[in-house]
């Protein structure tokens, strides 16, 4: 019986073993391909679509833009690239100004987050292991709660009849309420409040690994504490500084919720402009061009973040 089967399929192994053999050689692709393909199709390729549509014209139809490639009845393929959207970005100064304004806002919020987050991370790194895990949980907890709701909660503090003004009026520090809502200050407060945990966590990760014998050596050699900090602690924690700063800086540039809910009409950040272009003006090609130009400006910071992040993972 067995020999009969063997005669029919002389070289091939039984199917089950063949499958096993195939799995052994190629099986890893069953693990790699699903996430690779999914992210390729639904994360990376969309950027290609945005690039293509940024060269299209607006049109009154569904979807509301023209095709770039068209085939005429006499079988000519026409490639129509409309550079007007990008020219428009440079001619209308609202785009340039909002890019610059977003960069400026993100830069100063990152600096303030760093100034506040560094001592916090340093203090946590210096506490005992059991206190560390509790403090870390306290820092991480807001990250888990809704971002939108936290911005909304901040509004309850800083609005004209909010807690801050009520308290200051009651204490007699001011005699009429401060206008914080709808100002630049509110946008800064919102960004710092929302992104502070992103700064503290990477900083803590590097400061925790810091070799204390180096600090003791510096102290033994007569270095005052501030010199030790500048010469030893700060350089060694640079990867954390960069990673934390980028985690605040990059999302803050594209922030939409904070300038919309807390800021005034002057706080035109690029995320808000992009949103309005899309939902207000329904100009998809210009919105795509804004997104592509924005992305080009972000390549530098993102590469910097990736570089230091992989360095930190390898360490």
């Amino acid at each position: 019986m067995t020999s009969a089967i063997r005669d029919e399929t002389p070289v091939r192994a039984p199917p089950r073993a063949r499958l096993g053999e195939w799995l052994k050689r190629r099986g890893k692709w069953l693990i790699i391909l699903p996430p690779l393909l999914f992210l390729l199709v639904f994360f990376l390729i969309p950027f290609g679509f945005a690039l293509v549509i940024s060269f299209a014209d607006t049109a009154v139809r569904v979807p509301p833009f023209t095709d770039i490639l068209s085939v005429s009845p006499d079988w000519h393929i026409h490639l129509t690239l409309n550079l007007g959207n990008f020219k428009y970005l440079f001619s209308d100064e609202v785009y340039g100004l909002s890019y610059l304004y977003s960069l400026k806002t993100a830069f100063f919020s990152t600096l303030i987050c760093l100034a506040l987050g560094y001592p916090m991370a340093y203090a946590i790194a210096r506490t005992s292991k059991s206190a560390q895990s509790v403090l870390l949980l306290i820092i991480i907890l807001p990250f888990w709660t809704s971002f939108l709701l936290r911005v909304y909660a901040l509004e309850g503090i800083i609005r004209e009849t909010g807690l801050l003004n009520t308290a200051l009026l009651w204490l007699g520090v001011i005699d009429h309420p401060l206008q914080i809502m709808r100002t630049t200050l509110a946008v800064y407060l919102g960004i710092i409040y929302s992104y502070l945990p992103f700064m503290v966590l990477p900083l803590f990760a590097t400061l925790e690994k810091l070799d204390h014998s180096l600090l003791e050596a510096a102290a033994d050699l007569g270095s005052p504490p501030w010199r030790t900090f500048l010469d030893v602690t700060l350089p060694l924690s640079m990867p954390g500084v960069i990673a934390g700063s980028m985690l605040v800086f990059i999302p803050a540039i594209g922030e939409f919720v904070i300038p919309t809910l807390l800021g005034g009409p002057d706080n035109l950040m690029i995320g808000r402009v992009l949103w309005d272009e899309f939902f207000g003006n329904r100009d998809w090609p210009v919105a795509s061009a804004v997104a592509i130009a924005f992305l080009v400006l972000l390549v530098g910071p993102i590469a910097l973040y990736q570089h230091y992040n992989t360095k930190q993972l390898e360490a």
């Binding site: 506040l116 807001p142 909304y152 997104a291």
Partner: protein, 276 residues
């Protein structure tokens, strides 16, 4: 080392933590305010919570968000874990650099850009192949794309530190590679899987920008409804809703943190017992 924290550091730490928590606590306080005028304290009341139960717009949106959240976090954990296994276990393969980039980029990519590009893809796909229609499906796909990145990062670090010797022992004893992985390494990374499921769930439940872009008419998630209400100013029923959501998440995270710590401690204890 522990005693040498300067008062300056302690005070900054306290200020920082106060900044993070005071707005939330004040919000919860206001949610029990009987007065509809949010600035005046009109006595203790739970009436806003009762009103919430009868608000069908909010209930429908919450139900949609919960459904999306469950599908998204399950899908993200599966895809994200596969990506983490690929990156940790297969050192060299074609597309490794691409995969590394694609799991790290969503973490820092501004949501407006991700949202707009994904919408353009969905619109073009619908035009070309008639799928997917904007709404539940597109929100789920868009959320999985960024949540799986968080899963990968979480699971990756856990997997990299996991001891492979048990898995090798299982394979020496005749288990296939998949079986050996499921029997030995999977229980080891289970806490990371659980916490990344929860993280994906909260990220999905919270997302406003990407959902607003890729959603279609009629599919409003909870953040979209909250955003449209909040844009008009402070409203007391949103206070109640916000307090509910924040406390629920807070309790879950603290509980999960407690469970993970206990599991970790048990693992260390087991390891010590095994060494004897």
């Amino acid at each position: 080392m522990e005693n040498r924290i300067s008062p300056f550091l302690i005070s900054i730490l306290c200020i920082g933590i106060a900044v993070l928590y005071i707005p939330i606590l004040v919000l919860i306080g206001y949610s029990f305010n009987a007065s509809a005028l949010v600035s005046v304290w009109g006595g203790f009341s739970t009436s806003w919570y009762t009103q919430l139960v009868h608000n069908t717009q909010i209930l429908d949106a919450a139900w949609l968000s919960l459904k999306i959240g469950v599908v998204v976090s399950t899908g993200s954990v599966i895809l994200g874990t596969l990506a983490a296994i690929s990156l940790v276990r297969f050192k060299i393969f074609r597309g490794r650099l691409l995969l590394t980039g694609m799991v790290n980029a969503p973490l820092v990519m501004p949501e407006v850009i991700t949202g707009i590009t994904q919408l353009l893809l969905f619109i073009s796909m619908l035009h070309l192949i008639g799928w997917p229609h904007r709404g539940f499906t597109t929100i789920v796909i868009a959320h999985i794309a960024f949540c799986s990145a968080y899963v990968t990062v979480t699971v990756q670090s856990r997997l990299a530190s996991a001891d492979r010797s048990l898995e090798e022992a299982a394979m020496d004893l005749g288990s296939g590679p998949v079986r050996a992985f499921i029997d030995t390494t999977l229980p080891n990374i289970a806490p990371a899987l659980a916490s990344s499921w929860l993280l994906s769930f909260t990220l999905s439940l919270d997302d406003l920008v990407i959902s607003s872009f890729v959603s279609g008419p009629g599919a409003s998630t909870l953040p979209m409804v909250i955003f449209s209400k909040v844009k008009l100013g402070v409203s007391p029923d949103v206070n109640a809703l916000a307090s509910l959501m924040i406390s629920l998440v807070g309790v879950c995270v603290v509980f999960a943190g407690y469970l993970m710590r206990r599991a970790d401690r048990q693992r260390i204890l087991d390891a010590q017992m095994a060494e004897r």
